[in-house]
Amino acid sequence: MKIAKWLGGAAIAATLVLAGSSAFAVTIGFSQVGDEGDWRPAFSKDMQEEAKKEGIDLKFADAQGKEEEQLKAVRAFIAQKVDAIIIAPVVTTGWGQVLAEAKKANIPVFLADRDVEGDKSLFVARISADFNLEGKLAGAWLAQASKGNCKIVELQGTVGSAPAIERKKGFEAVTSLFPDMKIVKSQSGDFTTEGGKKVMEAFIKATDNLKGICGVFAHNDNMQLGAIQAMKEAGLKPGKDVLMVSVDYVPAMKEALAAGDANASVELRSAIGKYIYPVVTQYLQDHKELPKWIVIPSDLHAAKTAGN
Amino acid sequence: MTARIEMTGVSKAFPGVRALDGVDFRVEAGEVHALMGENGAGKSTLIKIMTGALRGDGGEIRLDGRPVQIGGPGDAQALGIGAVYQEVNLIPTMSVTKNLTLLRQPRRFGLIDWRAARERARERLRRLDVDIDVERPLGSYSVAVQQLVAIARALEDDTRVLVLDEPTASLDANETALLFKIVRDLKARGLAIVFITHFIDQVYAIADRISVLRNGRLVGCAPTAELPPPQMIALMLGRELERAEERTAQTPSAVRGEPILVAEGVGRRRLMQPFDLSLRAGEVVGLAGLLGSGRTEVAKLIFGAIKSDSGAMTVAGAPVGAASPGRSLHLGIAFCPEDRKAEGIVAELSVRENIVLALQTKRGVFRRLSHSEQQALADNMIEALAIATPDAEKPVGQLSGGNQQKVVLARALASEPRILILDEPTRGIDVGAHAEIVALIRRLCADGLGLVVASSELDELVAVSDRIAVLKDRRKIGEIEERAINRQTIIDTIAGPSS
């Protein structure tokens, strides 16, 4: 089965990641984007706590969402001669110069989260979750739960954003394998609860109370939570009449899953320090060439009542 | 002979109003041609069509015999038609240089050559005998200088027709004389000059020929010598003018009782030296003085539009405390400002809304005048002041200047004042309306209103005042009592040795 192969790929990445150990004290500079949303502060906190656990001297710099702040922080790390630098890039472009400076100073650079454009030889590896994989996992779950026969409505993220594009691609890669799986309505809910609710209200009218619809795929949990509210207000039973699958696994979604209002959510991990640090410390010991992209595994959490 | 500019059969209709109706107008080269008419007669419309600010509905324009199309101000300028409008339309925050080269900057390598621009600006002003620092912002100069800059801007090397719309409205005698000298020079150079003014004397001092408009039609055109003032005014009004400006000894004085307003030592540093002033019911106190002597400042200090930093005032024996427009309104003091555009009308609001504004403010937010009360009040005022408007709902901004002034006056009167302060009540107003306003002032006094009138026109002050306070260099230098009031005593007081 093709799905099994993808899941296997994620598992291979995980074994590779877990191979590292931390025998000697290192200094690592970490330049974070900022603290917007829920996910990123949790990510920052985990990086700091995990560093303490691993005995790593972490120099943390918050770029406050500004590109020039981030460049300044990276140059400061180079001047301090840290052992390695981890960057969660604010933007994907304009990195050539500063990465070359790091390379000249013999400091290995790792990327977390977003990718950068340009010369890939300037950094060692990117360690992040795969939006595309998240979409595939959601699609695979829905295919399984509906036995490959499902009319779907989709709540997209912000138009043009990377997670929206990739999750959609991944999801469609799976559903396109099943001739009876079809996305019949797709609109953007801008990743917000309000947006998800608004769009779902319109879908309910446009499809005559979701007649014939078997699944809702939302690019994030917030939109899915809004959709659940809209469906309840229209007298529908989300999670029972219609299969609800989304991405993020935020606390409110855990409650919804427990209550049976939603069926599945793909976890976007914020506690990823334990995946990142071993790769870095291992590389500092053996300098062995690494794949350019190391994927952090994604887990799908399904409610016990799911899929009947 | 071919006229420099000849307009034939020009018409223009606005919604509800026929502004011009088949007007013929021609100006020869080397001629100063006065264009006369009451407010709303169509002078401004005709000029705007000539300068491309408006498009006419019909008719033809010929320049030196050649038919031309004037589609916009750019066309007019390219054809050599320059204009200076009544309200100075320059940009006060920009330097004189920039104002003068706004449309045609000298360029060097495609960039603006500021040195050449400065030189050109100085050169242009020199032609008018004006020597000022061209780098200073225009707004830092007096209105008179701004007016001259506006003329300098309108004059290109190839200007063939120059339109002067009320150029002397804010100029004093010396400045007017200088302007006339310039006009005569330009005339000698063969320019055709169209001159619009409400100063009758000035027409006869400078114009060669007069055209008179009334209600959008040309009602007369003759050489100045053949059209003496009484006939011309009769043409403008369509009737004989009662000679309102004559002060008649028989006019019974309406002055009575104790002062209703007493100001003692009221002043403000750098704006106006402390002055004393009193006013009784039925009395008209005139404020005389040259431009910049402090007329407006006195009016505004009494009203509270300018906060005083010395002295005290009482109204009907009760101390006023800190004067402010709001307080004055409730004390029964009303004020008509000089600059109706900036401080008078609210252009988007209707005539009715403008008229009821002060009374409504006095009553407060929650005691609204009903629509029928507002309508009745507005209709009364439109009738009483002969405001030319199709109805009370027309936005005030669409009325002619003189009618806007009347609306501001109507607003002040509607607030039921005991004391009325008028700053230049007849500025920019034609003779007919002028006489009406003077007559109105007399009527108001008979009703027991106390009036303070600031004016640059001595004849007007002489005609209406019971007492005149003479101002000079932001100081009150004297008062002239009833019997002694005439032009000469005022001029003598101003000219006299100041201490």
Partner: protein, 348 residues
């Protein structure tokens, strides 16, 4: 002397036609009609209204229902714009109100009190804007920009007061105000109707509207007349703050979460747009409350139509921009005059 001689009586039918075509409501109404026409063609059941769960249910109800928060903000905005001002901070006020509601409910306050606290906070925001504009004389666009940029951050800080990273709440009372219904009618529509009526009475049945338009049309003249311009401007920002606050209550109770980053995002732009579509000028001096409502309906009908139409989301903003552009072009006096001239010339 009366100068009425040159006022000409026009022929009756022509003037009536002209009165219709020069009425300021004509273009927004035509736009709304066209949007509905397209809806009717592409989705036949669009105008269907049923009763579901004891309340009216259908696209038309959805338009009114979803338009409520924007409409609230827009009528407040219309008042502020009438004073020659602008209030960019309305979205931020919504975010603060949402955060305050969630915080106080978590703190265990009675829910009626929470509502009062939320509205009081919105009024304080309005007071702050009014202080900057009326007392410190800062340009409105700058003055309200301060709260606009900081407001959502304040909302996040309020969330942190009780450690809420993704806080939601349950409040039958507040949710009733937003998603409940009175009889068949959604409660938010009933409450909006009451607020609109109160504001309309204040503007048109007291002298407040006249004084406000005078201040907006010519502040110097208003001052000379004796109007307390400062008080009038203060009131306008207070009204806008209150309206935004109520919109915040409706939106926060709608999703029962506090999401200061995204709640009411760009609502200020939709509100300004609605005022402009309704014929209001940013130069101030005129308030058209009813027309503003029409503007909101045009925007919301468009949004709802796009959502139900099945158009790919990439086109949402483009379609919206095109429709708004067309309406605004038709509102332009110059373009209308040109069209009128063409029309007149075409006739012999």
């Amino acid at each position: 002397m009366k100068h009425a001689g040159n006022v000409e009586a026009e022929t009756q039918p022509a003037s009536r036609l002209r009165a219709i075509f020069t009425h300021r409501a004509i273009w927004p109404v035509i736009a709304l009609a066209l949007i509905f026409l397209v809806d009717g063609i592409i989705s036949p059941g669009f105008f269907q209204i049923r009763v579901v769960e004891g309340r009216l249910f259908g696209n038309l109800i959805d338009i009114l229902y979803r338009a409520t928060p924007t409409a609230l903000v827009a009528i407040g905005m219309a008042v502020v714009i009438g004073t020659k001002g602008i209030d960019l901070s309305v979205g931020a006020i919504i975010a603060i109100v949402g955060a305050v509601i969630t915080w106080r409910i978590h703190a265990g306050d009675p829910h009626g009190l929470v509502l009062l606290i939320a509205l009081a906070v919105a009024l304080v925001c309005g007071l702050w804007n009014g202080f900057l504009v009326a007392v410190l004389d800062i340009q409105p666009i700058i003055a309200t920009l301060i709260l606009m940029t900081s407001g959502r951050g304040i909302g996040l800080m309020i969330n942190l007061l009780y450690g809420g990273t993704n806080p939601s709440f349950t409040s039958p009372f507040l949710q009733g105000l937003s998603v409940g219904h009175i009889g068949l009618i959604p409660t938010r529509l009933v409450l909006f109707g009451a607020i609109f009526l109160a504001l309309w009475l204040l503007v048109r049945r007291t002298a407040f509207g006249l004084l406000l338009e005078a201040v907006g049309g010519n502040p110097a003249a208003a001052r000379i007349v004796g109007i307390n311009a400062r008080l009038v401007i203060y009131s306008a920002y207070l009204i806008s703050g209150f309206c935004a606050g109520w919109a915040g209550v409706v939106l926060a109770a709608d999703t029962h979460t506090s999401d200061p980053v995204s709640i009411g995002l760009y609502v200020e732009l939709d509100a300004i747009l609605a005022v402009v579509i309704g014929g209001g000028s940013l130069a101030g001096g005129r308030i058209y409350l009813g027309m503003t409502l029409l503007g909101v309906l045009v925007i919301q009908a468009l949004t709802t139509s796009i959502l139900t139409s099945g158009l790919p989301p990439e086109y949402n903003l483009v379609v919206k921009a095109v429709v708004v552009l067309v309406v605004l072009l038709l509102q332009s006096a110059n373009l209308r005059a040109a069209l009128y001239r063409m029309f007149a010339r075409a006739k012999p």
